[in-house]
């Protein structure tokens, strides 16, 4: 008995769950496979939904305003809150829209229900910020049968037939990685260090999340153009400040000559900064170690103004305007791109003070 409990425990520890945090966490590659029950339920409801559609489709209403149904993941981080706010402030009645907002509270079942409700209400467009990548085929087919275009935001979905959704709006993590390298290159040139050997360490996000994969690959790809740059080590800080600090403490003891720290989100960068200071070293524009971070949340601007962080590459949650653009194009009957990235900026420390008041999140 005792041993059985122990073995269960070890198994439990091994399958330690992954972490969600901040923007990056919010984009975490979702757990695979929708539960079978959901699919069964879906099939059962399809017929019911279809009859509903028939009745609603039969009475085409005169459309004055564009009705948009938006199914949001939940409100797990300030990034997500900003994302919701962006949608709400874009699709206002003043702009000629009616927004039906649904908070799924991190559950896909709720999202599936919400989408079916949208279909029944015969909305003009459905916008989904999916909780998970998989399990969307049936409900999106229903939307397609009802002739309602679907726009996916933030996380990507994984469907057998990509005509099931009209467009996807989100962040280009790979590009964020490129941007970080481009900024570093420019910064080093400006400081006459272009010919120096540069030692870099990376604090990675939760392994397997799309933000981690994109940013790591983006940096790695572009680093090939810089033979003088050396990636000493990569280790995961799981997108959290505490882990970021712990890993950075270890890096500082192993390597004596770190020039650059790349933290794949702001929280880990905060932890790294604390670790660097505790080790008696300095960082930021006036310090020894260059800190490059991602996300550009409000606290990152505080850190840059305080002179601790060099740059933060934005992960933009303001999807609303981009989605509105697509809807306007569709209204006019124009073709839209399948993949639409939001505009994302790079915010170095010297612009932080000026930028901070303009920031919405």
């Amino acid at each position: 008995m005792k041993k059985r409990v122990l073995s269960v425990l070890t198994a439990a520890v091994m399958t330690t769950a992954m972490v969600l945090s901040g923007c990056s966490g919010s984009q975490t590659a979702a757990t695979t496979a929708a539960p079978a029950e959901t699919k069964a339920e879906t099939a059962a409801e399809t017929t019911a939904a279809k009859t509903e559609e028939a009745t609603t489709a039969a009475a085409p209403a005169e459309k004055k305003e564009i009705v948009v149904g938006f199914s949001q993941v939940g409100a797990e981080s300030d990034w997500r809150t900003a994302n919701t706010e962006s949608m709400k402030s874009t699709f206002t009645e003043a702009n000629g829209y009616k927004l039906i907002f649904d908070d799924a509270q991190q559950k896909q079942e709720n999202q599936l229900k919400a989408v079916r409700n949208f279909i029944q209400q015969d909305v003009d467009y459905i916008v989904i910020a999916p909780v998970t990548e998989t399990g969307w085929d049936t409900v999106l087919q229903e939307a397609k049968d009802a002739g309602i275009p679907v726009i996916i935001v933030d996380r990507m979905i994984n469907v057998s037939d990509d005509s099931l959704y009209t467009a996807w709006v989100g962040s280009n993590f790979l590009q964020e990685g490129y941007d970080a390298v481009a900024w570093l290159d420019e910064y080093l040139k400006k400081n006459n260090r272009a010919d120096d050997d540069i030692n870099i360490v990376t604090l990675q996000g939760t392994i397997g999340s799309s933000a981690q994969i994109g940013r790591t690959n983006g940096v790695e790809e572009k680093m090939k153009d810089h033979p003088k740059w050396k990636m000493l080590e990569r280790q995961t800080g799981e997108f959290t400040q505490a882990k970021g600090q712990e890993v950075m403490e270890s890096f500082l003891k192993t390597y004596d000559d770190i020039d650059v720290v790349i933290a794949e989100n702001d929280n880990m960068a905060f932890g790294a900064i604390d670790a660097i200071k505790a080790a008696g070293k300095t960082c930021g524009p006036k310090g020894d170690i260059i800190i490059i971070s991602f996300d550009a949340v409000a606290a990152a601007f505080d850190s840059m103004i305080a002179g601790d962080m060099n740059v933060s590459v934005e992960c933009n949650p303001l999807h609303g305007p981009r989605v509105a653009e697509i809807i306007q194009k569709l209204e006019k009957g124009e073709k839209v791109d399948k993949i639409a990235y939001v505009k994302e900026g790079v915010f170095p420390a010297d612009t932080a003070e000026a930028e901070k008041p303009k920031r919405q999140y």
């Binding site: 005792k2 604390d274 505080d302």
Partner: protein, 351 residues
């Protein structure tokens, strides 16, 4: 020769021999790849080195495992809500100190008020768990599952889903160090919790009661021990420990991150109890064993970082070490090996 053998036999006979042996083994293994692992210097007036990291970073877990040991011993079950309770305690403390703001540069309320409220929150959570287990006789894992799921939600509710920052130097001291004292503060906190608990269990009959109740609650009831009260108290104490641990964790990052404070730490705490050679079936327990187990877990993480193991492989190495340590302490395995030895010996004689 005989004397040496007797000495080894006596040494290995100690209850804590195996846990300590495993801890030392993990630490020594660093010498292969990181010769400077045991170097300690002073930076900024604070001790600095890998070994200090291990002792410092393990503090949260040590505090948790103290509470967990008592729960396991008294109720033969585990409290899986401790990680979430840590998060609640951190959120309560930051909420009071920030006065509901998202970022503050000075305390809105006295520091001591925040600390007391956080500890009280921990105790209340413990009372809730204790009531469910001791009074309503709900399976410990099921009872504590409630706060395991709801706890982080409560913490989110308190912090309004945002990370609350307390950017005050004196708030950071509990998780970092106090100026003029070279040892990180969490080490002291852990030390105080362990010592007080040890004294409490040794100087009063509480330790004995807990063991008695853990071995047989019915028999102890017949003996006049209020077994449900003892179980209730052990959960309250566990909540208290989680509250203190949450304070330290929150102070380390000078913020309340409801999603991440103490995440998965409940599993590590249970593992620490097991690694310390304690039976998860309740009854006899060794507090120091659990503490050593907690240090072993942190030593392992720090070792893997120091060795530069790639992040996607870390869980595998951790699992291997844990399996080996648990197997080493298994009495069943020992019996099997003994049997094998006897068989070999008798086999020789026959031949």
């Amino acid at each position: 020769m005989n004397k040496g053998k007797a000495f080894i036999k006596r040494l290995t006979g100690y209850r804590l021999f195996l846990p300590i042996f495993c801890l030392v083994l993990v630490l020594i293994s660093n010498l292969i790849k990181t010769p400077g692992f045991f170097e300690v210097t002073i930076k900024n007036g604070v001790l600095y080195g890998y070994i200090i990291d291990v002792i410092n970073r393990a503090s949260d877990l040590v505090i948790l495992s103290v509470g967990m040991t008592l729960v396991v011993a008294a109720s033969a079950g585990t409290d899986i809500s401790v990680g979430a309770v840590m998060s609640v305690a951190g959120a309560v403390c930051c909420f009071i100190l920030s006065g509901g703001q998202q970022t503050v540069n000075e305390f809105a309320n006295p520091y001591i008020l925040g600390v007391l409220a956080a500890i009280l929150a921990g105790i209340l959570c413990g009372c809730f768990n204790g009531f469910l287990v001791a009074r309503l006789k709900i399976q410990p894992m099921v009872a504590t599952l409630i706060l395991f799921t709801a706890g982080r939600g409560i913490a989110q509710l308190i912090t309004k889903g945002q990370i609350t920052y307390i950017r005050v130097e004196s708030y950071k001291m509990l998780g970092a160090s106090i100026p003029g004292i070279p040892i990180p503060t969490p080490v002291f906190v852990a030390l105080i919790v362990v010592l007080l608990t040890y004294v409490l269990l040794r100087k009063t009959s509480l330790g004995l009661y807990i063991q008695t109740v853990g071995i047989n609650p019915k028999a102890s009831k017949l003996m006049g021990i209020k077994s449900s009260m003892i179980i209730f108290l052990s959960y309250v104490f566990c909540g208290l420990c989680a509250g203190i641990s949450g304070l330290v964790a929150s102070s380390r990052i000078y913020s309340a991150d409801a999603n991440n404070i103490g995440l998965n730490l409940e599993l590590d705490a249970i593992l620490a109890v097991a690694l310390g050679g304690n039976s998860l079936a309740g009854g006899k327990f060794s507090l120091l064993g659990s503490v050593i187990g907690a240090y072993t877990i942190q030593a392992l993480s720090t070792t893997l970082y120091a060795m530069g193991v790639s992040p996607d492989q870390i869980p595998v190495y951790k699992a291997i070490v844990v399996v080996v340590i648990v197997a080493l302490q298994s009495t069943e395995l020992k019996r099997m090996i003994n049997k094998l030895q006897i068989n070999v010996k008798s086999g020789k004689k026959v031949a």
